[in-house]
């Protein structure tokens, strides 16, 4: 029989401290029962010092006081019941249903913290996922089992882009393999959550979506568990039920802010910008749960969205994320202001896994060269634009003028595409050749003569 405690010594933000406690373990889940109402709040042991225990409460601590609540130690870690019935359901950040449906009952339970995948057991991801978006498919190709975040800014259309990817993504040719979506909303506005729910409905995938939602006005401690619950569900569906799971998570910035708030309540030594020193490991414990396993069907492809504070890519949140994830898709504000959708800033965008997932047998033999040439040429466009700012476009050399024309066409025709428009990879690559043909052949040093022969548009 587990003991119950009445005395709370201290409440600081989401943390409570109780003393004279025996026989609890690190990470144990506690129920905090308000005597007057019978409401139950959940919490977790995050520090034990002799007989003093610090508990992080997942709900609002307002109203808690010494003597008004009973603290019960449950003797369990934070586990969630796992079942295929999770699909089509909506849960809060600690995995309780909030869609008026029944609780999930299952003999299978999983600890939400997960465990590191043994690198020996991983399969190196190589399968291309066609998102139907030219800039992503051609230049920052998404690979099944990859973790590829969208670095965005406030007000940029990252939600639209994520929804479009969910709608258009073709997860491989093998129709027998099932796919599903796990969606985690961390500290999002009610509107944003509505938007996603609507777009899942429109894409006709709602019965394949598991949603975990923590609204912006929900308690921040719950933001720590929201992504973990979602990834635990994803792991179950991918590795136990062999489905291909796309995890969309927004907004990692809210998650990191919650981490900082709790860290400061714990009086920890801060590192950059007040974020805790362990934020890298903490984020890694989320991102690294994406992947594929050897000799087994099923994968987790992870698309976290984060808004860069002040559009600053060197801010600790995008910075640490970029060091862990396998590339990034960066949205640019200047493209957005020129009404280019999706405003993918291709130069800082990158897919690290792309090199092994494109080319002959995956996309098309010329993919790598076209991508490389587009990067190199568009990078040159930036230099020419800087120059034209100073000396005026009129005075540019003839080649530089061609670069200016290429830059404009590239943005208007290649980057820019409709919210409902899907282009397959062949269309995107052909479009790339079309645009490159605006430049003189001598400038195209990344293209091989064989591919130029084969694909370079012949002048009529």
């Amino acid at each position: 029989m587990k003991k119950e405690y009445l005395q709370i010594d201290k409440v600081v933000g989401p943390l409570i401290q109780i003393s004279d406690v025996d026989d609890v373990f690190y990470g144990e889940v506690v129920d905090i029962v308000e005597i007057s109402t019978g409401n139950i709040k959940k919490g977790k042991v995050i520090k034990i010092e002799e007989k003093n225990v610090i508990i992080q409460v997942f709900q609002n601590t307002a109203g808690l006081s010494a003597g008004s609540s009973i603290i019960k130690f449950t003797g369990e870690s934070f586990n969630l019941p796992m079942s295929l019935d999770l699909q089509g359901r909506i849960f809060n950040g600690i995995g309780e249903p909030i869609d008026n449906g029944s609780d999930i009952f299952s003999l299978v339970e999983a600890n939400i913290n997960g465990r590191p995948i043994n690198p020996m057991s991983r399969e190196y991801p190589r399968n291309f996922i066609q998102t139907g978006i030219s800039s992503i498919d051609t230049l920052a190709t998404l690979i099944r089992g990859q973790k590829l975040p969208i670095f965005s800014g406030n007000g940029l259309p990252h939600n639209e882009l994520a929804a479009q990817i969910v709608r258009q993504a073709r997860l491989g040719d093998n129709v027998n393999e099932e796919f599903g979506v796990v969606f985690a909303a961390i500290g999002v506005k009610h509107d944003d959550e509505k938007f996603f729910r609507k777009s899942f409905d429109e894409a006709n995938v709602m019965d394949r979506v598991v949603m975990f939602v923590n609204y912006a006005d929900d308690p921040i401690a719950e933001r720590i568990t929201t992504p973990r619950c979602a990834l635990t569900a994803a792991e179950y569906l991918a590795f136990e039920k062999h489905m291909h799971i796309l995890v969309v998570m927004t907004d990692i910035t809210s998650y990191c802010e919650a981490l900082r708030e709790i860290s400061s309540a714990r009086e920890e030594v801060p590192s950059r910008k007040g974020y805790p020193g362990y934020m890298y490991s903490d984020l890694a414990s989320l991102y690294e749960r994406a992947g594929m396993l050897k000799d087994q069907v099923g994968s987790i492809t992870f698309l976290p969205i984060l808004t860069m504070p002040n559009d600053d890519i060197t801010h600790p949140i995008p910075d640490l994320t970029g060091y862990i994830t396998e590339g990034q898709i960066v949205l640019g504000r200047d493209l957005f202001q020129r009404s280019i959708y999706p405003p993918v800033a291709i130069l800082p965008s990158l897919s690290r896994l792309m090199k092994d997932g494109i080319g002959e047998g995956f996309t098309r033999g010329d993919h790598a060269e076209v991508a490389n040439q587009l990067f190199a040429s568009y990078s040159k466009v930036q230099e020419v634009r800087d120059l034209s700012q100073i000396i005026g476009e009129e005075d540019l050399s003839p080649t530089d003028k061609k670069y200016m024309a290429f830059g404009r066409a590239f943005e208007a025709e290649f980057l820019n595409q409709g919210f409902d428009e899907g282009r397959n990879i062949i269309e995107s690559l052909d479009l790339g050749w079309q645009l490159l043909s605006l430049l003189p052949l001598t400038e195209l040093d990344r293209l091989s003569p064989e591919n130029i022969d084969k694909y370079f548009p012949k002048k009529a």
Binding site: Y26, M120, S285
Partner: protein, 595 residues
């Protein structure tokens, strides 16, 4: 050993805070002693002792631990078992083989699997080279085992033992735990020598003396070998923001360096990157041995989601394994990707210990730890009298790509080669994105004799001349940004044209092209020499008043840009042909202008 453990005084867990726990009743524990913690017997290390309270960093996930559970001492510091069976294998941060862990738990890495090490069941064919009565000094060789197809493991007397051989087993099949030789030391005590012995990771293995480093580590990468060479036994750092290609560069070095042994540490990096290494390396053929490069490689993986305390240890595990092979007389190259994650692990543990932070939350002892680590590199004479060396190449991941942060700054103080990766080069897909203006090599001077004797007498002066040209190009580019290229005089425009060839045709190297991924030094030199030739012939033309637009023959230029692909690594005659073409073109052109 199990019996001994039962008799020892055990500690009692009194506090738990993430990977750091405290225990009572620990007066008999030693600093840096390895312990097992709790019912699951998690592995940990004592890092602070104060009265009867001890603080322990735990190398596994601590969720589920309770106060009141036992802390059991092992009586020895965190040690590795050093013996045959490490090559071709991948270990976690405390030398537990991941393949073995996979057998115990197929997908995830669980807690409480206990201490595992190299395979003690595997039979090796040992050839013993000593006889009773021989005097064996510390570090001398008493036999050999063919560990892989290319590496012979030389069985060494541990550095802390010496004596006269009493008995020797006949040559044959043994496990690493079988006694092969018995020796009697000066105090008349008997010691057993096996294939494997233990060594504490935090203690550098001794050597006879340090030598000067006079030979370069040939990497097959043009920008490194010619412009910023690394000496065998030297130290190098590769700093760069995310996406600049640190890991890619480290992989290229691990694949193609002409070291005998490679120790590759994935420290706090991506799981998929380690998987890529396991999948790719066995398929790649070492140009020198003709065998798979995996035959000479040891991998250590502590991916970013593995326990942070083991990340701190992984660097020491790696360097200790490197020293073990160095002591056999091998040239070892060690890649640590990334040392910043190791520094962050130090910071995290330090924070949990509530130590006073210095810069950006890092502990004040960060510089001294970095120095200690890089100082374990070096070219040495082993105790047994052989030449051995360890080259350390550490990746650094500066926060925000800003090189003025503490880890980059302090690393810069203790390494001799600095290969700065540049975001803008990476954005333009110029790989390797090593910035030639910011990078430097402190070994240039001492290696210049080697280059003059082994490559070409003018190799270093050619390198200096071309680097100067790149500096000039940088200055000219600033001007171009203001006024445009057309306004520059012809001789300066010629510099820009040649610099473009150097950038695209020489400094950029394609890791995915079968010829360009590794280029022998002769070709590296010949390519640069050819570029110089073009530069000089063009300058002759400038004196005749020929404009750059005429000097720049599109066909010749495009051949220069593509010569890394079109001229085979083993047949450089194409470069002479290219020079002939230059001569032919310019002779006609010069005649026109002379008249």
């Amino acid at each position: 050993m199990a019996v001994n453990e039962e008799n020892k005084v055990k500690g009692i867990i009194s506090a738990i805070n993430g990977p750091v726990i405290k225990g009572k009743n620990m007066t008999s524990f030693k600093m840096r002693e390895m312990v097992t913690v709790g019912e699951q017997r998690l592995i940990g290390e004592v890092i602070v002792l104060e009265g009867d309270i001890g603080t322990i960093q735990v190398y596994e996930e601590t969720e589920g631990l309770k106060t009141g559970e036992e802390i059991t001492p092992t009586g020895r510091p965190l040690s590795l078992k050093l013996g045959p069976g490490m090559l071709k294998n991948m270990f976690d941060g405390i030398q537990r083989p991941l393949e073995k862990i996979q057998e115990l738990s197929p997908i995830f890495i669980p807690e409480g699997i206990g201490l595992l090490s190299i395979d003690d069941k595997k039979m090796w064919t040992a050839t013993l080279s000593v006889k009773p009565g021989d005097l064996l000094l510390a570090g001398s060789c008493f036999g050999t085992v063919q560990e892989t197809q290319v590496i012979q493991n030389r069985l060494l007397v541990p550095p802390n033992l010496s004596g006269t051989v009493v008995s020797v087993m006949p040559d044959g099949e043994y496990t690493i735990e079988d006694v092969l030789v018995t020796i009697r030391d000066a105090k008349n005590e008997l010691h057993e020598l096996k294939m494997a012995h233990e060594w504490p990771v935090r203690t550098p293995r001794p050597n006879a003396y340090r030598r000067e480093t006079l030979v370069p580590l040939i990497t097959g990468q043009r920008v490194i070998d010619i412009f910023f060479p690394i000496a065998k036994g030297g130290t190098a750092a590769i700093p760069g923001g995310f996406g600049t290609g640190k890991t890619m560069t480290q992989h290229q070095l691990a694949k193609w360096s002409d070291a005998d042994i490679i120790v590759y540490i994935g420290c706090g990096e991506r799981g998929n990157e380690m998987t890529e290494v396991i999948e790719d390396f066995p398929k790649l053929i070492d140009p020198r041995s003709g065998k798979s490069i995996m035959e000479r490689t040891v991998l250590i993986a502590n991916t970013s989601n593995m326990p942070v305390a083991a990340r701190e240890a992984s660097i020491y595990t790696g360097i200790t394994i490197a020293e073990y092979y160095r002591d056999m007389g091998y040239a070892v190259a060690m890649m640590a990707d990334s040392t910043s994650r190791w520094a962050e692990a130090l910071r995290e543990i330090s924070g949990r210990l509530e130590e006073m932070p210095a810069e950006e939350g890092y502990p004040a002892y960060l510089p001294s730890r970095i120095a200690e680590f890089y100082e374990r590199a070096g070219s040495i004479e082993t105790l047994g009298g052989d030449d051995g060396s360890i080259t350390i190449i550490g990746a650094v991941s500066p926060a925000g790509g800003d090189f003025s942060e503490p880890v980059t700054e302090n690393t810069k103080r203790f390494v001799n080669v600095f290969l700065a990766l540049d975001k803008s080069l990476a954005y333009a897909r110029h790989y390797p994105a090593i910035n030639w203006l910011e990078s430097y090599s402190g070994y240039l001077k001492i290696l210049s004799d080697w280059y003059e004797d082994n490559v070409a007498a003018d190799c270093i002066s050619l390198r200096n001349k071309m680097l100067e040209l790149m500096y000039e190009e940088n200055k000219l580019q600033e001007m171009v940004m203001l006024v445009g290229e057309d306004v520059l005089p012809d001789d300066q425009r010629w510099v820009l044209e040649i610099a473009k060839i150097i950038k695209v045709g020489y400094l950029q190297q394609n890791a995915y092209n079968k010829d360009d991924t590794y280029v022998p030094l002769e070709k590296q030199y010949a390519m640069l020499k050819a570029i110089e030739y073009l530069f000089e012939r063009g300058r002759e033309g400038l004196k005749l008043g020929i404009p750059t637009s005429q000097l720049k023959n599109v066909d010749i230029f495009s051949q220069f840009i593509k010569m890394k692909y079109t001229i085979p690594n083993d047949d450089l005659s194409g470069i002479d042909k290219l020079k002939d073409e230059i001569d032919q073109y310019y002779e006609v052109l010069f005649k026109k202008y002379e008249n």
